[in-house]
Symmetry: C2
Subunit: 399 residues, 2 copies
């Protein structure tokens, strides 16, 4: 039988970039291409102890169907942390548990957008989110960014120009892929513009806990007196990625719709690990745990920057690297016209994998003279060796 | 800010039925309204032992991101079981892991249907699936069923009448809500019709392992020489519902699209419990475990039927109950015009909860003189007491 697929899915083709991402896991490869948290950041001993506790004292609750909104004690603890740490989760908000931050992003698009409506995003932005939006046949439009992140004027212009703009998708803190943190002044301005034009803000903050230098910048959610912000967070980078645990704080009526959409999608999030996360927050020192991850990533980021600076000294006018204050990623910018996909392919022969910038473009047909580097996955040795090889290759190409 | 929602979600209103479902969990209530597996069916000791093993020997793999298709050894074991037990998973098929059977259903609709396309289903059918289809703005059309299940002639008529029929959604074995198993002759006829008209079959088989009497009936998938069937299965009823673990066997090109859709939805299914399920299949006697669940539900079903027969003897010409060979549900049919929602409300005062048939109707505006009973969730005592109270109330109304 011939299989015909929906327009929304036919348009979502596996990209050439995926091939490069695949190489990341081949033996001997130094994978600067991943987005994985460091395995040593998983609190295995605590998780094992709590698992045992759950099986022994509340196995029925952990293995039975739960409610779509999420495990109530966990929802309360996440809310409390959002309030104390990010001034997020306003009084008008409900916090629900989702199966990873990605699900919060996908459901938000599903409940807010009809086909053809416009979604704005930073250009470049996180490919997983962009593909989620594409899978609802929206008009996805990238907004210009500079070294400080999203440009408010470009945002306003896009809002005025495009039809039925439903929301702005943004990762304001330690952005993926650039590592850039949007300054507070810009956040305020963008928030004002959004409210003025009735455009919602989908704030994706999976890395917010991972600051290793500089001062915290208030979230969009902390400004949200108008019920304009849907805030997505995740346990992937501070507990475990494989357990698929995230959360959304949004105005109550939005939360209700997200719950309706989630119910038909996966009924509810894994109940066992919701209970485990709740007990972890209750019994363990979450702040100390997060502090240890921050320290780890701060060290790895510094190591990567040092390596890159040293190995690209002879071409330092032609390549720049962002200097993130947290998160997992660094962004390299090259002279316009530089063929990054070709360079990335050659680099694979040297056993170093990077992700060409075009993978993160709102319009994947435009070339992007940049690439993304990740420092959370590779070991220290791999960072040292990989940055030397990468620098050597860059010097060769740019000299 | 005013929040405007997408058409697809605005149409999905929380129904009055949900209120009745909620009462199921109030203290003292005898919940014949649930769809939960019996807690004593969870193999807690084995799961605890395997969890410990995972934390001690492969914690990184279990807590790190996995691939969207699912954990490879589990995919292989599921495929092997599908082949040996259900003659399912044909050579042309790929098996992927999903976050519960519900996700397989939702993703199938997402990849196959444009808005306005037609989806056919048994009338009545599983509300979670129907709402998933509604959330993609499809034209959902119920096909007439009788005491043997879906009527092939009614199916062919609907295929000819409706526009762009993309697939038939069916639960052929121990159907939810009726408990009916579609005879093999009808399956063959429906399959032939589907192939003739290029309509796919979405076969939902979450209860297939739970036969407690009669002979196995071959699945639609076992007939699938034409790549016409998407087969969804689940670990919810044979391992644990709260861990959200299911699988889909479908033609390779369909699987690839399902993977693309799943990637933007939740990236992958909980990695820890994929590994746990794999080890359970490897190390434990799954057949013996399933046999014990079958025995449990066979006993509970018999207890419910005996209770109902005894308590409705004076109105036995006015109410009939299905006699399922497996699964979790029984279906009561009443004289046309009987106000079931009103009856269900009154019954709540007697502390017995049932689900009015209208909850399962493809067209929720048409009254349905029937209700669903579940026997897997309540205890034996509750079944005895609840069927007596239910029978008493029915006799009062029908006398």
């Amino acid at each position: 039988m011939t299989h015909n697929f929906s327009d929304r899915i036919s348009g979502l083709k596996p990209s050439a970039i995926r091939e490069i991402l695949k190489y990341g896991s081949t033996p001997g490869m130094i994978a600067f291409s991943a987005g994985n948290p460091a395995p040593e950041s998983f609190p295995v001993a605590d998780m094992e102890r709590i698992s045992k506790e759950i099986f022994e004292t509340m196995s029925t609750e952990a293995l039975q169907y739960g409610i779509t909104e999420g495990y109530t004690p966990l929802r309360e603890k996440v809310r409390a942390r959002l309030v104390s740490k990010f001034a997020a989760a306003t009084d008008g908000d409900d916090v629900i548990i989702v199966s990873g931050g990605q699900q919060g992003i996908e459901l938000s698009c599903k409940v807010l957008c009809n086909e053809g409506d416009t979604v704005l995003c930073e250009d470049p932005s996180f490919i997983g989110a962009l593909n989620a939006f594409r899978s609802y046949n929206v008009n996805l439009v990238g907004v210009k960014t500079d070294e400080k992140g999203l440009i408010p004027e470009a945002f306003e212009e896009a809002v005025k120009r495009e039809k039925n703009v439903r929301f702005l998708y943004t990762i304001p803190t330690f952005q993926n892929p650039t590592g850039i943190t949007l300054p507070f002044e810009r956040r305020k301005e963008i928030y004002r513009i959004a409210v003025r034009y009735g455009v919602m803000i989908l704030e994706d903050n999976p890395y917010g806990e991972l600051r290793f230098k500089g001062e915290d910048v208030p979230t969009f959610k902390s400004l949200d007196k108008d019920g304009a912000v849907i805030y997505c967070g995740s346990f992937s980078k501070v507990l475990s990625a494989g357990i698929r645990l995230g959360f959304v704080s949004s105005p109550k009526d939005v939360s209700q719709k997200l719950v309706v959409a989630k119910q038909v999608s996966d009924v509810h999030t894994n109940q066992f690990f919701q209970i485990l996360a709740n007990k972890f927050l209750e019994e363990c020192d979450f702040d100390a745990h997060v502090a240890s991850i921050r320290k780890l990533y701060g060290r790895k980021a510094a190591l990567m920057r040092e390596g890159l600076t040293a190995s690209t000294v002879s071409v330092k006018d032609k390549v720049t690297f962002t200097d993130p204050d947290g998160g997992l990623f660094m962004w390299a910018t090259l002279p316009s016209g530089f063929d990054v996909p070709e360079f990335a392919k050659k680099l694979l022969e040297k056993k170093v994998a990077i992700v060409p910038g075009v993978a993160f473009a709102a319009d994947p047909k435009k070339p992007v003279a940049a690439f993304r580097l990740n420092y959370s996955t590779p070991s220290d040795d791999q960072i040292i060796k990989g940055t030397a090889l990468l620098g050597e290759a860059l010097c060769e190409e740019l000299k």
